[in-house]
Symmetry: C3
Subunit: 312 residues, 3 copies
């Protein structure tokens, strides 16, 4: 059983900050076993109903959670693409969650308002998983990233991790860096334009923990040294001006030319959807793991559901 407060108190998962290293290994080890022997797990959630509440559309996340539950033998009721008003007719989120708790055994929710996940978790009578609120950071993305790394590289420590793109606003990246910094001897390389550097508070946290990191401006100068290249999107409108964007954009696009400089066993990750920051030609390189990452996302959600329903 998971031991952290988030599970003991209310069996809810709101933020990836809730995890400690033991929690993470417990979930990831179970996920690895599910990946190896899915049949063993295919009936464990028979008779359980997951409520999939997407008050803000996010089809890929929704399908991932729903497939996870179905592959465990459970069932799903779904609010696939609602406008909130029709769901709630003016009622409070508290009442909505209380109500859905009566129909279901576990709730997954995505909501546009920051803080809504915490509010829902407190009021749910059944286990609750945050699938994104407000800034769209959601803890199961971090679990997905970790499982992919563990499966591909057989470890979560002693890694050189580079993250590339919009490091200022990308909450997926913030959460990943904070979580990977809990494991021993990891080093970070931040690849971004000056305008989109990783925030000071994250750098200060790394300094305090005595964790090595550096900041660079191009993929080329570091790709030969990294175990992981974690790519993210850069939105054009985040640049100071168009000229700057045109000058810099190729530095943050991965293609086969840059891949030719990387180590044999490096892996490329991306939270998807991508736009053009990874050229399609890279898809055929077997170091490209971003579609595999999608599958691991479903697997790690299976592990989480099993833990929360206490059938494991």
């Amino acid at each position: 059983m998971l031991s952290s407060k988030f599970l003991k108190k209310r069996k809810s998962l709101v933020s990836s900050d809730d995890f400690n290293v033991d929690n993470l290994y417990e979930i990831l080890n179970l996920a690895s076993d599910i990946y190896r022997e899915p049949k063993k797990y295919s009936n464990l959630c028979n008779g359980y109903v997951l409520a999939s509440l997407f008050f803000e559309p996010s089809t890929r996340t929704r399908l991932s959670f729903e497939s996870a539950m179905l592959r465990l033998g459970g069932s799903v009721v779904s609010i696939p693409e609602p406008n909130v008003s029709s769901v709630t007719k003016g009622e409070s989120l508290k009442d909505t969650i209380k109500t859905v708790s009566q129909y279901s055994d576990i709730i997954v929710m995505r909501h546009s308002q920051e803080g809504s996940a915490e509010l829902a978790a407190i009021n749910s009578d059944v286990p609750f998983i945050n699938a994104g609120d407000g800034g769209h950071q959601h803890p199961t993305q971090t679990l997905t990233d970790l499982l992919t790394i563990k499966q591909c590289l057989n470890r979560l420590d002693n890694l050189v991790i580079s993250v590339c793109g919009d490091l200022k606003f990308g909450r997926t990246v913030h959460s990943l860096v904070k979580t990977l910094s809990k494991f021993p001897n990891n080093k970070f390389i931040f690849i971004s334009p000056e305008e989109l550097e990783i925030p000071e508070y994250i750098k200060n946290d790394l300094i305090k923990k005595n964790i090595e990191f550096k900041e660079v401006r191009t993929i080329e100068e570091v790709i030969d040294k990294v175990d992981i290249l974690y790519m993210t999107r850069i939105q054009r409108e985040r640049f100071f001006n168009e000229a700057e964007y045109m000058r810099l954009k190729d530095s943050f696009v991965l293609d086969n030319k840059k891949m030719s400089l990387a180590k044999e066993d490096m892996i490329v990750l991306h939270p998807l959807p991508r736009v053009n920051e990874i050229a399609e030609e890279v898809d055929d390189d077997n170091r490209a793991k971003y579609f595999k990452q999608v599958k691991y996302g479903m697997i790690v959600r299976m592990a989480l559901i099993l833990k929360f329903l206490e059938v494991m």
Copy 2:
């Protein structure tokens, strides 16, 4: 087996008027047993498909029916939030229902047009349940209310039932009063502003049946005498003028102060969603049964599905 015409002829449920006391006890007794031992029933609908047709959105009702079917081991196909035009491309409701009958073993439908449930019931080749048409009265809400009363108070007769709020337009209330008046020795207290009194035809029906009732203007003056306080919403725009609304509104809001006057074993019900007619502080009072009522709603729908599919 149910004996009333609605079931014998076409196995459809259109209006709560279709029930007699024997039908009601048959469904409610089965529901009580499902509540007690859900595992006994968890595979009885294996292989059956319920079509959940919500031509008008009503998420809580839809999720309740879908969870009910899934908890019986059945499957669900769903039209969750449609615009009618895309469903039907101009075809008649008759053809739509005939078509869906080919895919499914039982149909649940909500539709904005009064009379559409009757039309659908006639044309369906499989059992049909009305989940609301037009005025949104739907017979499974009345079953929900009755099961909650039976479970909480152990009887459906010898009750003092007060209903509060908009008693003029609230069809949920009309249906509940008519149905509870079929059981012996029930008395009614109607709490409403003058503008929103219970309709004459319902009062006449009670007089004809020699059933005791009275009408009052505040919760306070009667709450100590009732077994059930059934709360409903009052819409601001139903009042003659804003001044009237401001003067009266607190008389129809339930809070802990009013609850302190009530009997120990009184129960508070509400069809939900509420807006502000029950203060949140009341939720922690164990006489507040409106969320429990949601669960009983799902349970009684399970009983109904079992009866209609004739697997019980």
Copy 3:
């Protein structure tokens, strides 16, 4: 096992042109057995997940596929009525399909763009079925028509097939004629106004294959000679002018008067939805098979899913 290229290479079905007569009999014979003994097949897809991607709404087709999968014991994740943008956030269809391939064991897709099915089939890592792209021709409609004929008339050859309505733009009809012309000794009668005659390329194909056909302007003049009357809708706006429409429209409406001229064992088919081209009075004639056709549509999709998942 099916032997044609479409199945061998990538287990995908994009166009009904992919079928040869052996493929067709293999699927249809399996479908006939499913119709006869559905229980035999009700658990064969346990543990499999079908992704139902309707990027363009088509509720009847979606429900048919989803019911088919559920009746085989499988599960469904669904995009029921999306706007494409929210699904993909600017990503390519290729990436969307690659992603959904990670969650699911088989994909069914409907999309508004011509060619999207081919593109999706190439990029899917799991079996893929086209449920309509662009012109909305979809191969499972043709399979539906064929199964209905086989079940009702016990043969797919030696038939006189009349098709009535808009034969110019109706791709359902084009596909049906091409497919039925692969079976020996079938004859065709085309009933349409001059403006909406069957295209030259189809007539040329029939001539080349030495297949007998004729073109007429009214149902009455041929209905006594046909085994099948396949009705389709005529859109008012397809006529040259309103006067022409008023003069001609009754010639293409089927009613009991015309039915009285037909053979005892003739069958009437329609891909549905109908508007008014078949009078409702015809529904009670036991030669009217268009609702039965809906059920056969689900059955033949069950056969296809079984073949593609290789559980049969």
